[in-house]
Amino acid sequence: MSTLVDDPRIMEFDVRTDEMLINMGPQHPSTHGVLRLVLRTDGEVVSEVTPQIGYLHRSAEKIGENLVPRQWIPYTDRMDYLAAMNMNLGWALVIEKLMRYEPPEKGRHLRVIIAELGRIASHLVAMGTYGLDLGTFSPFLYAFREREKILDLFEEVCGARLTYSYITVGGVTADFPSGWLQKCEAFLDQLVPVIDEYHALLTTNAIFIKRTASIGTMSPEMAIDYGCSGPVLRGSGVDHDLRRDGEDIYTAMYDGYAFEVVAEKDGHYPRDHQYPAVPHEARLGDSWHRFYVRMLEVIQSMDLIRQGIDRYSLATDGHGEPMKLTQKLPKGEAYLETEAPRGQMGFYVVSDGNAIPWRARARSSSFSNLWITGQLCRGCLIADIPSIVGSLDVVMGEIDR
């Protein structure tokens, strides 16, 4: 491990001082849970960052080897607890893939609506906490205000506000209650102008841009090499979204939906003329771009939900029945990744023909996204660390499982 900064300028002009080893976390306001970053600093300049994880390890995979798939759904809730619906969906889909089961059309649209609502809720939190990391408190509460409305919708659907266990293997636990779709549409309508406010408060704020532009820049090659995914990957300009590029069983959900992957192409984001322009200080792959991708994805998700509502209303078949608890899984193994809000959430299931899987494995997106911090934070200032870690938007429940 090197103790000196790679950047030669820092060595050249640095006043001779002592290096200091600091533990940022596991209890620290900006580490989003129980992440511990070991910093080696020279004054305010950070020469090395080592993330230490595992403080929230709950043996979810071991538990998965002892429960039938539907019983493990609540444990997936607790992985990415800010986007529990998307976690449920990932596990449900991989079991369905193993069983070669195809949910009915109505159920697919329902899942799209729910998954995209979950994505909006998750990105709102990401936005709010990012503001918090940069020292502004108000956007956090604005984001939570909007998220509460989504949680109200979820509560009406499944009775829970955080750990839903709603999407399950074979279908969902219950159909939408009557009048829910109208409420959902009303929510989307009022969210449109609010997003513009967030752009004014954060995206285009001069201080915000100063704090995030050209900070923690990762090249597309680097992002791919480190296994980054989701907005972190797309923030570097990699045109990759599993909703379009994933496996058939997952992309089938989005068949016929019109959407563009939010990634910069030729200096432009899709439909970016409607949204604030990229500031000239920002470089592709920096914290600002990762934030911006999330903000555009909220709008994209709103669009997808509207399409989903239309299709759902037209569909005539059922939404799918949950699998019986005693149902035996076919022998074999399956791996499937879905596009969760924080990136590609992968589940791997190995079955020996029993109702309980032989092995349940979760590949979490934040796990891979966090690993790159050590590289990104090298040579930055202490104040940049919340700015970089916040832009990666990790959830420790998902990393430690």
Partner: protein, 438 residues
Amino acid sequence: MALYLSNFMWSWLAYTIAALVHVVLILSLVAGGALLFIWLERKISGRIQDRLGPTRVGGKFGWLQTLADGLKLLTKEDLMPEGADRMLFRLAPYISFAASLAAYIAIPFAGGAYLLGAAPWVAQHVNVGVFFVLAVLGLEVFGTILAGYSSASKWSLFGAMREAAQVVSYEVPLGMCVVVPVLIAGSMDLSLIGDRQAGLFTNWLIFHDPFTFIAFWVYLTCATASVNRAPFDLAEAESELVAGFHTEYSGLRWSFFFMAEYGSMLSVSLLAVILFLGAWHGPLPIATWLGLTAEHGAIAMNLGKLLGLINLLLKAVVGVSVMIWVRWTLPRLRIDQVITTCLKYCTPIAAGMLLGATLWQYQFPSRSFFGLTEVPQAVYHLREGPQQAVQNSGSSPESREGTDVPEDEIATVNHPARRGGQVSASDTIPQESIARLR
């Protein structure tokens, strides 16, 4: 006050009582101010964030929330880290608070620059008041730095180092901005600067010329930096340094830092109001229209001063509210960006404004409101003293302004010999005693 009291009692007792009254008044202002501002901060932030803020303690508006919190802080365990430098750790909050409090000694709360026997309401009249307040406010950071250093915590140490770096950067432009009104008023005496802005709001120094107008905003920026408020709250940046210099503090000690912060917020606001925003004079000279001046007797004069006090405090509270508003809206800058802002942008701007204001004063002396109006006669009275005012009353101000202003105008009107009228005892001081002093 002491002089008045000494008519009735021993003078040593009179001075003691006078001093105690001042101390009690200032303490209650700072403590009461902190109570109010913490409540205000919660209410304003609440409203900004679509919340209600405190609603229960002490009636509908949660008036007593701060008091309840104060009680809670009192009962909290007083913790001290194992490796702390115990003496400095204990002292640091008091140093901060004492410095924040000491600035109030020289801040006048209502007008009258010893003119016509109308003494300003000030605990101790310091003729270099501006300088004194700045110097003492600068000491507040000493407490911060000692706290950071003695806490034996790395986060605290970082906070202290940031604070030190920040001090070096904001002090320079802050001082320059303060010099601008000093230059125009021709005095470092806060009560004189305040009374220079009597009359309509057009006489406020912020509107004196374009340069003072810009200097005010630079002052506001640097003053925010000097009291460690967002976006310059780097010493306690909670998302980076946990709580910065006061990470290890709890209970009452911590609340002293808090009081010091709100105390300095009020004092820099007061300074801004006195230097730029007309001090104790309202936008319209209502007190003069109502006849609440010295000419109509002591009661009228003191009523007028009370009005002035309310005026001053109201404006200062608005200033504090602006700081609160900014805090709950903007993200925090990075330390290098703070230093860049202060040294690379604010300092040259402030220097430019100082130069510009000098030249403006040279070109358009005795004119106010961007050169559109004249400084009214009352101000001449003030500047030149009663004797000269009587002489000048014969010739109209227009004829005075119409002619070419001699180059030495500034020097002349400010000349101590001509300003004798400001000094209450000037006509009684024998010339030889002055000569002896020199």
